[in-house]
């Protein structure tokens, strides 16, 4: 069954970088919404905690997008999304399909993986900072 996929493993670091860039860009967007109303107005009432969250999203999203300090940044973002999930969504319902926290959960786990796996083949960490 897996024969068509044999050898794909070799490209995994590239795939990981693609995943990292798309996910970070998507995360970044929520920070832009909170501060610049771009691409649309913020989804939430902007209480002070959301300004803090917006900074995490903009700075963290940007660093992860370019792949600088990937593991450290991913560690913070993963924790951030875990807190967001349990603080905002979990009280509404146990099930992520119902409490609106599906994306937060998926972000959390993707970032968690990047803490362990790093930023993949294309990253500032690897090309400029010469670290893994």
């Amino acid at each position: 069954m897996t024969s068509p996929f044999a050898g794909l493993e070799r490209y995994a670091p590239y795939a990981l970088s693609i995943v990292r860039i798309v996910v970070a860009a998507s995360f970044f967007e929520f920070g832009l919404e909170k501060y610049f109303d771009f691409p649309g107005p913020a989804h939430v009432d902007m209480t002070p905690i959301y300004y803090v969250q917006g900074i995490i999203e903009i700075v963290g999203g940007f660093l992860l997008l370019i792949g600088a300090f990937t593991r450290v940044v991913a560690f913070i973002l993963s924790g951030d999304m875990a807190v967001a999930y349990f603080m905002i969504y979990f009280p509404r319902s146990f099930f992520p399909g119902q409490n609106g926290g599906l994306s937060a959960m998926l972000y959390c786990f993707i970032f968690l993986y990047m803490v362990f796996a790093g930023g993949g083949a294309w990253s500032v960490d690897r090309s400029i900072l010469k670290q893994e």
């Binding site: 069954m1 897996t2 068509p4 996929f5 794909l8 493993e9 490209y11 995994a12 795939a15 990981l16 693609i18 995943v19 798309v22 996910v23 998507s26 967007e29 929520f30 919404e33 691409p39 649309g40 989804h43 300090f69 593991r71 450290v72 560690f75 319902s93 146990f94 099930f95 992520p96 399909g97 119902q98 599906l102 994306s103 959960m105 998926l106 972000y107 786990f109 993707i110 968690l112 993986y113 803490v115 362990f116 796996a117 790093g118 960490d125 670290q131 893994e132």
Partner: protein, 131 residues
């Protein structure tokens, strides 16, 4: 900066399995909603709605178990890409506005699993003895 995380790399297959199981269970949930109304019922839809439900149930279960991980993840990644471009993209270009955020995240998690497989804990590895 990264010295703290040195040696964590060796745990990435285990973490990958955790990510795979969580994403698959979340995905399964959407299928269960369509067919058995758990955890909450979705309004009935056309034939496409139930085809998607079948993909979600079958794919979600297989991926959670880690059985035929790569082919299943390949189909599900394609499925989510189609879902994104047919359902969400027409609403807006930006995922924050078109509601397709989760579809993108699913799509790319599954895409990555096509390349790396199911990680440390999977039936592929335990039972089928294949990677």
């Amino acid at each position: 900066m990264t010295s703290f995380f040195e040696g964590w790399e060796k745990w990435s297959p285990q973490i990958l399995s955790i990510v795979r199981i969580m994403a698959a269970l979340c995905f399964l949930q959407h299928g269960l909603q369509k067919y058995i109304g758990f955890p909450s019922a979705t309004p009935p839809g056309d034939i496409l709605h139930y085809v998607q439900g079948a993909i979600e149930v079958a794919g979600g279960i297989l991926l959670a178990l880690g059985l035929w991980t790569r082919p299943v993840a390949f189909i599900m990644a394609g499925d989510m890409a189609v879902a994104y471009f047919t359902q969400h993209m027409p609403r807006s270009f930006f995922p924050a506005l078109n509601g397709g955020d989760a579809a993108i995240l699913y799509c790319f998690i599954f895409f990555y699993i096509v390349f790396v497989g199911g990680g440390a804990w999977s039936l592929d590895r335990k039972v089928l003895r294949q990677e």
